[in-house]
Structure formats: structure tokens, C-alpha cells
């Protein structure tokens, strides 16, 4: 037991140190390097907390989308807002707000009764009715399906929000988040070799999510990362916001989820209720459609809107 304890202590110290370092970094690029490192370390933390599902999400998001998203945001920020530092009043306010949130979180966690209240036994007890073996997938798609459904619709709204930032004269133009002038052939070779492998791994992570850690979000993010890699290598162009094909994929998952939810009235008498005989297959079908939509959503969110043409 002692080795595990030392490992956890090291991990906690390291995560805290990197977090403080990231906040203290004065420039954007080092802060992003720190934040990406922080995300990768969190994947190990979640494994130590026996939350392998969350660890997979963190590895997929932290290793893939986060870095590109933040770097893109930083590039746009320095352009639009200039390098004017925030005033002292704003800094004190931001610091106070962060402190208050931290204190509130700490208070809630420290005052939890021991043992903490849990619905885990009920979640496991209901598994046979859903036909899946991973309680987390059951919670996401069956017990609390309404949350997941709304979450995906929120993601769709985020995509629309990003598209709304397109300048009027660039509507329908290709977003060009990465300079294509200087291409490194090592990146191109990596994209050519890795993307098909990533397709297999991404689908596997979704498939295995029915009974073991994994699922649509994790797999979808991996597929999105592969799509982004191929675009970064300049092998395919990003799709414009006006692309009908892209829009269809974006909507497919939430639309199917919603259709099944309404069909629940006819099949078993309630919104979002699955008939037990088909529950397993309906859940897998929804997961499959959601995977494609999530991959498209994450990809579109990372690429960002088309910028003004020269």
C-alpha cells in the first residue's frame, strides 16, 4: 500500500505545482504548455481515482483538442485585443472571484458526510434492464438521457455561436486556422499513417464503452483529433459552415436521439423510455450517431470561424 500512497502524494504535488505554474506564467504560450501538461497529468489522476471513463475523456480531450483550441484562441486574441494588460482593479476582482469559487468547492467537499451519498448501487441494480454493462454509459444514455440529449444540443448551439463570429463578407469561406505556406513532410507522413489507425481506435473506444470504460464522447474526440491532424497536414481542406454534408453530420446524433426519445411515447408510454427488448440496440445506435456528431462538433469548434478574406 505504501508505494501507492507515495505515488498519489507525488501526483498531487506535481499537479498542484503545474497548476500554480500555469496560473503564474505571464505569457500565453508557456501558460498553454503548462495547461496541456496539466491535462495529461489529470488523466493519470483519474486512473488513480478509479474513474477510467473520465481518464479516457481527459486523455482524448487533453491530448488532442485542448492544445489546438487554446493556441488558436491565443493567436486570435493577440491579434484582436492587442497586448494591453488588465488593470489592477480587474485583476483583484478576478482573483477574488476565483478564491470564492475555490472556497465554496472546498467547503462542499469537506462537509460531505462520510460515507458520501451515492446512487451507485441503484445504477448497477438497473443495468440488466438497459442491456449495457458499463454503468456510466447507462447513466449517460438511459437513466439521465435527458441531460446528455440537452448537452449535445448545447454543443450544437456552441457550433452555431462560433459560426456567428464569421464576418459577413467571409460567410461560406474556408476557415484557415493553420498557415499552409510551410509544410513539414514529417507532419504529412504522420497524418497519412496515423489517421486510419485512429479511425480503428476511435470506433473501438465507442464500441467497448457499452461494457467497459469508453463511449461516444471519448471515441468522437479521437476521431475529431484525426480529422484535425489531416487538416493540419494540409491533406484535406476544412469544410465551410455552408457545407450541407457537414451540417447533416452535426445534426444526425442529436436528431436521432430526439427521434428515439419521442418514439418512447409510442413504444413504452413515456418520453425517452426504451422498450426493454430493444434497449441495448437503441442505445448503441444512438451512441454511433452521437459519435459522428461529436467528432464533427469538436472539429468545427477547434477550427473556428472563417476569418476575413484579404
Amino acid at each position: 500500500m505504501s508505494a501507492a500512497l507515495i505515488l498519489d502524494a507525488c501526483l498531487v504535488l506535481l499537479v498542484l505545482a503545474v497548476a500554480v505554474w500555469t496560473i503564474a506564467a505571464r505569457e500565453t504560450f508557456p501558460a498553454i504548455a503548462g495547461f496541456v501538461s496539466y491535462g495529461l497529468l489529470l488523466a493519470i489522476v483519474w486512473v488513480r481515482l478509479s474513474s477510467v471513463d473520465v481518464a479516457l475523456t481527459e486523455a482524448a480531450i487533453g491530448g488532442g483538442a485542448t492544445g489546438v483550441l487554446l493556441l488558436g484562441a491565443a493567436a486570435r486574441l493577440t491579434d484582436r485585443a492587442g497586448r494591453r494588460p488588465a488593470g489592477i482593479g480587474l485583476r483583484i476582482m478576478a482573483g477574488a472571484l476565483c478564491l470564492a469559487i475555490t472556497a465554496a468547492l472546498a467547503f462542499v467537499i469537506l462537509t460531505l458526510p462520510d460515507p458520501a451519498p451515492t446512487l451507485a448501487p441503484q445504477a448497477v441494480a438497473g443495468l440488466p434492464a438497459t442491456g449495457v454493462g458499463n454503468p456510466i454509459t447507462a447513466v449517460l444514455v438511459a437513466y439521465r438521457g435527458i441531460d446528455t440529449l440537452l448537452e449535445k444540443i448545447v454543443l450544437l448551439l456552441a457550433v452555431i455561436g462560433v459560426w456567428c463570429l464569421t464576418p459577413d463578407d467571409s460567410w461560406g469561406a474556408l476557415p484557415a486556422p493553420w498557415g499552409t505556406a510551410r509544410q513539414d513532410d514529417a507532419i504529412v507522413l504522420l497524418a497519412r499513417l496515423l489517421a486510419p489507425v485512429g479511425v480503428v481506435v476511435g470506433v473501438y473506444i465507442v464500441w467497448v464503452g457499452a461494457d467497459d470504460p469508453g463511449g461516444a464522447f471519448q471515441g468522437g474526440t479521437i476521431l475529431a483529433a484525426m480529422w484535425l491532424l489531416v487538416m493540419m497536414a494540409g491533406l484535406i481542406a476544412p469544410l465551410p459552415a455552408t457545407s450541407r454534408r457537414l451540417r447533416r453530420v452535426l445534426v444526425a446524433g442529436p436528431a436521432l436521439f430526439l427521434a428515439v426519445a419521442f418514439a418512447g411515447f409510442a413504444m413504452s408510454g413515456d418520453f425517452l423510455s426504451y422498450p426493454p427488448a430493444y434497449a441495448k440496440w437503441l442505445i448503441k445506435l444512438i451512441e454511433a450517431a452521437l459519435t459522428l456528431s461529436i467528432a464533427a462538433m469538436v472539429g468545427v469548434l477547434v477550427i473556428g470561424p472563417a476569418v476575413r478574406k484579404r
Binding site: A186, I187, L190
Partner: protein, 98 residues
């Protein structure tokens, strides 16, 4: 047989740990970014390889062992690409800044 297998794992994982030690020593001691990049990629890659080799002996079955090999191959591909890309970036930055 089990003892021999465990001994193999202990040896290989220890050797892998030693490579990570050497890689970190290189990171701390080497004089510039390019030499540090050598230390980072080559020593750590070998360390991961040795650890995978040691863990293959503990894998639950042939498919489990092959999965470990798949992880190692992906890491090699990533390492070989990242090394070149990073080296190019380090040189470009060195040239730009005085």
C-alpha cells in the same frame, strides 16, 4: 516458471526506469535545446520499450501482449515524428531570435 517470469519483469522494468533516469539527467545537464531533445526522445523511447517488454511477461494473454506492442509502436511513430518536427521548430526559433 512464474518466478522466472517475475524476475524478467523486474529486470526489464528496472532497466526502463534507469533509461527514464538517464533521459531526465540529460534534460537537466545538456547545454542546449537540440541536445536536450536527443536526450528526451531517445532515452525515454528506450525506457518505454523496456517497460513494455517487461510487462508483456505479465500480460493476461497473447492479445493483451499484442495490445501492449501496439501501444509501443504508436508511441514510436509519435516519437519519431515529434522529434523531427520539434528539432525543426527549435532551429527556426534559434535563427529568428538573436
Amino acid at each position: 516458471m512464474s518466478l522466472l517470469r517475475d524476475l524478467f519483469t523486474v529486470l526489464m522494468v528496472s532497466a526502463g526506469g534507469f533509461c527514464f533516469l538517464a533521459g531526465t539527467a540529460g534534460l537537466l545537464r545538456f547545454p542546449d535545446a537540440l541536445t536536450r531533445l536527443h536526450a528526451l526522445t531517445k532515452a525515454d523511447n528506450l525506457g518505454l520499450g523496456l517497460i513494455v517488454l517487461g510487462l508483456i511477461a505479465q500480460a493476461p494473454g497473447p492479445l493483451g501482449a499484442l495490445k501492449l506492442v501496439a501501444v509501443w509502436l504508436l508511441a514510436q511513430l509519435a516519437g519519431a515524428t515529434a522529434t523531427q518536427v520539434l528539432a525543426r521548430a527549435v532551429r527556426a526559433e534559434g535563427r529568428d531570435s538573436p
